[in-house]
């Protein structure tokens, strides 16, 4: 049981946290993504960073509705969230989901929600750069190949290509690139609310195509920075029956392992 304080707790004690951790729906409810949430929290707690979550006061940011075309549902949720965030006087937000990151950073401002929003890749990179994160347990990674899968909403959408790679470089592993990466990175297939419906008729599922590119690199680990990419790539690896050889991890999980906060079997 992790001991995590909510904004309500901080407000009751008349205190302000350094940063609000926006957990997101996947990070809250999806079993795989919950693990990532916990790894990230362990890193924050290990560094004694004063952070809060909204807990039951957090709602979906509205991203899947907005991208599906339902601006009503999006704005309803956004305006509710903004009311909560502004009510607490939030200034800085970090999130482990690129979709939450994109929408909070780009689409909330014109609705009245102005915050400094960081994706955890950038946040972790800043902690590494400032020397606060020191890796102690990188032996497990030594010489192992890791390939990073660019999330569309981090990469093309917001031009964050290097931060997640910098985080991975800390691990002493061998970073290998897929055939299409960075600006040309192939989507995992989840965005635009595709995650929540059946595929349209076609020859192949998009996550399979992307997993094939990842498998071509011979990497032991596929690193993701998005809960939806994580699900898509995990499903892809399973469909290819490679789950024994290839693992999908979030960069936060890998970094937590590098600090001895998690154990990871490679």
């Amino acid at each position: 049981m992790l001991n995590v304080k909510t904004m309500a707790d901080y407000a009751a004690a008349n205190e302000m946290p350094e940063v609000l951790f926006w957990v997101g729906c996947a990070g809250s409810f999806d079993q795989r993504a919950q693990k990532v949430t916990r790894s990230f929290v362990k890193i924050l707690q290990h560094l004694n960073i004063k952070f809060a979550v909204l807990g039951s006061e957090e709602s979906c940011t509205g991203d899947p509705a907005k991208r599906a075309g339902n601006e009503f549902v999006f704005q309803m949720l956004a305006l509710q969230n903004i009311e909560v965030l502004n009510g607490y006087g939030i200034k800085k937000i970090v999130t482990t989901c690129p979709h939450c990151f994109n929408i909070l950073k780009n689409e909330y401002p014109s609705l009245g929600g102005n915050y400094e929003v960081l994706h955890h890749a950038t946040y972790l990179q800043q902690l590494i750069d400032s020397g606060r994160i020191k890796l102690t347990d990188t032996a497990a990674f030594k010489g192992k190949k890791i390939t990073y899968h660019d999330s569309c909403y981090l990469g093309r959408a917001n031009e964050i290509y290097e931060a997640p790679r910098k985080v991975l470089e800390e691990l002493d592993a061998e970073l290998v690139e897929m055939k299409s990466c960075r600006t040309k990175g192939l989507c995992c297939g989840a965005g635009g609310a595709q995650m929540f419906k059946e595929d349209e008729p076609g020859k192949k599922r998009i996550n399979i195509a992307r997993t094939e590119e990842a498998l071509e690199t011979d990497a032991r680990v596929i690193a993701a920075a998005c809960p939806f990419c994580n699900t898509m790539m995990t499903d892809g690896v399973k469909a290819k029956d490679k789950q024994a050889q290839v693992k999908v991890f979030d960069i936060a999980e890998l970094l937590a392992a590098g600090q001895g906060l998690e154990t990871i079997q490679l």
Binding site: S28, L77, N106
Partner: protein, 441 residues
């Protein structure tokens, strides 16, 4: 006599061209103005930079070297050949022959510069020829996949071929004209490439060489005039529209999808019913329509995008949905938008400037299908790839809004997802009270 005849002929040709070209370009301008207003004039220095780098400097083309270099050859050739056209025009209006050359022939430095310029154009033209043949080969023999997709069948592939063929036609005219001119004057001009081609005319009489020169000159000019009139009906319009289109491209991050202010207003009223009682009379005269169903509902920039599309298919080649065999092709989104706009525009023109609903729209009706719209992952690969900064995604999202908010046309899973989001603040059916359950390991 003959000289005067030629001047009149030239002026007649020029006037006819001006008339048809004006009609063509004016049509495009009017059609683009059918779109909704959108203000895209902020930050002019960034806009200028985009235009110089992406349109003039071809920056985005260089993501893919082979076509970039071939395209650059034709592009540079096209621009540089216009220099020779200046003299052709003055000659045409005045009935002179190589007026600039004769003006400078006794000033050695200027004369050399003239000869250098024409020789340079000739050398560049050789490169244009090579590139044109390479492009025809890529399209027709190598069958590069993105140049042979279903949406290109019919006019688009003919259009592409017409332009490449006319490129070769123009080069043939230029070289016949220059070479014959050299042969008639015993090589006095000293042009580089036509100098080497001169022996081709060995044994021909002066009169027949003169005919060749005139045919080349008129042929070239006729080609240029025809090109000007044809351009507004062709994907090659991008040579002009690439400039405004990159200038007015959105400067926001690619992940940003604009919020709809009309909806903010409604939701604020819902969240604060007192305000609704305070201002009940403020009903808009026309019911607000959400999202886009037809070209009128899109912004003028979406419509300019449609006319700027080069049909190159870089977007479609990068599209994850298309790569995995889904029906969606972002290039087709742009082509359908343009074709529907052309249809609407010509119906308005036929009807003396008035639009009567034709019962059709951009969605379905042989244009963009619901299945295509549903397949998009909003990944921005198409936007990233486009060499002229078009956003097919922006159109897709606006059409999706119409399907969902006006037609209630959503797959069942999405309907359930919307309901969950409204009721329990998550796309899945979990209680909001359980959002902190992850703290338990």
């Amino acid at each position: 006599m003959l000289t005067y005849f030629q001047i009149y002929l030239f002026i007649a040709f020029a006037a006819i061209t001006a008339f048809y070209a004006y009609r063509g370009y004016n049509r495009i301008y009017k059609n683009i103005k059918l779109g909704k207003p959108e203000n895209l004039t902020d930050n002019p220095s960034q806009r200028l930079r985009n235009m110089l780098l992406v349109a003039l400097g071809q920056k985005k083309m260089f993501k893919n070297m082979t076509p970039a270099i071939l395209h650059l050859m034709i592009y540079v050739g096209f621009v540089i050949t216009q220099v020779e056209l200046i003299e052709v025009f003055i000659d045409g209006f005045t009935g002179h022959h190589r007026i600039i050359y004769h003006a400078v022939e006794n000033i050695p430095a200027l004369r050399s510069f003239y000869v250098f310029t024409i020789s340079f154009i000739e050398v560049i033209s050789i490169f244009v020829f090579i590139a044109t043949v390479a492009f025809l080969t890529r399209r027709w023999l190598l069958k590069v996949p993105r140049l042979n997709m279903p949406e290109l069948q019919g006019f688009p592939i003919i259009d592409a071929t017409i332009i490449l063929a006319s490129e070769i036609y123009l080069l043939t005219c230029i070289f016949s004209m220059n070479t014959a001119d050299m042969a008639m004057h015993n090589g006095e001009y000293g042009f580089l490439v036509s100098g080497m081609l001169m022996p081709l005319f060995d044994g021909m009489t002066y009169t027949s060489i003169h005919y060749v020169e005139r045919i080349g000159w008129w042929g070239h000019l006729f080609g240029v005039f025809a090109f000007l009139c044809y351009l507004p009906y062709s994907k090659h319009l991008h040579i002009l529209l690439a400039f405004p289109n990159t200038y007015f491209a959105r400067l926001t991050p690619k992940g940003y999808i604009a919020n709809m202010p009309e909806i903010t207003k409604e939701i604020k009223l819902m969240m604060n019913p007192d305000a609704a009682y305070a201002a009940p009379a403020e009903q808009p005269a026309e019911p607000v329509k959400f999202g886009a169903k037809d070209v009128f509902d899109l912004s003028w920039k979406n419509l300019m995008d449609a006319y700027s599309c080069t049909e190159c298919g870089r977007c479609t080649a990068a599209c994850p949905a298309n790569q995995t065999g889904k029906l969606l092709s972002p290039r087709k989104i742009m082509m359908d938008t343009r074709d529907r706009l052309e249809e609407v525009g010509s119906k308005i023109a036929d009807n003396k400037g008035v639009w009567n609903d034709d019962g059709k729209s951009l969605i379905e009706n042989g244009y963009i299908s619901v299945e295509e719209l549903r397949a998009c992952t909003t990944c921005n690969a198409c936007v990233e790839e486009c060499p002229v900064m078009i956003s097919p995604l922006d159109i897709i999202v606006q059409l999706r809004r119409n399907l969902i908010m006006e037609e209630s046309n959503a797959p069942a899973e999405w309907t359930g997802m919307f309901a969950n989001m409204e009721n329990n603040g998550a796309p899945w059916q979990f209680s909001q009270q359980d959002r902190l359950n992850w703290v338990k390991e």
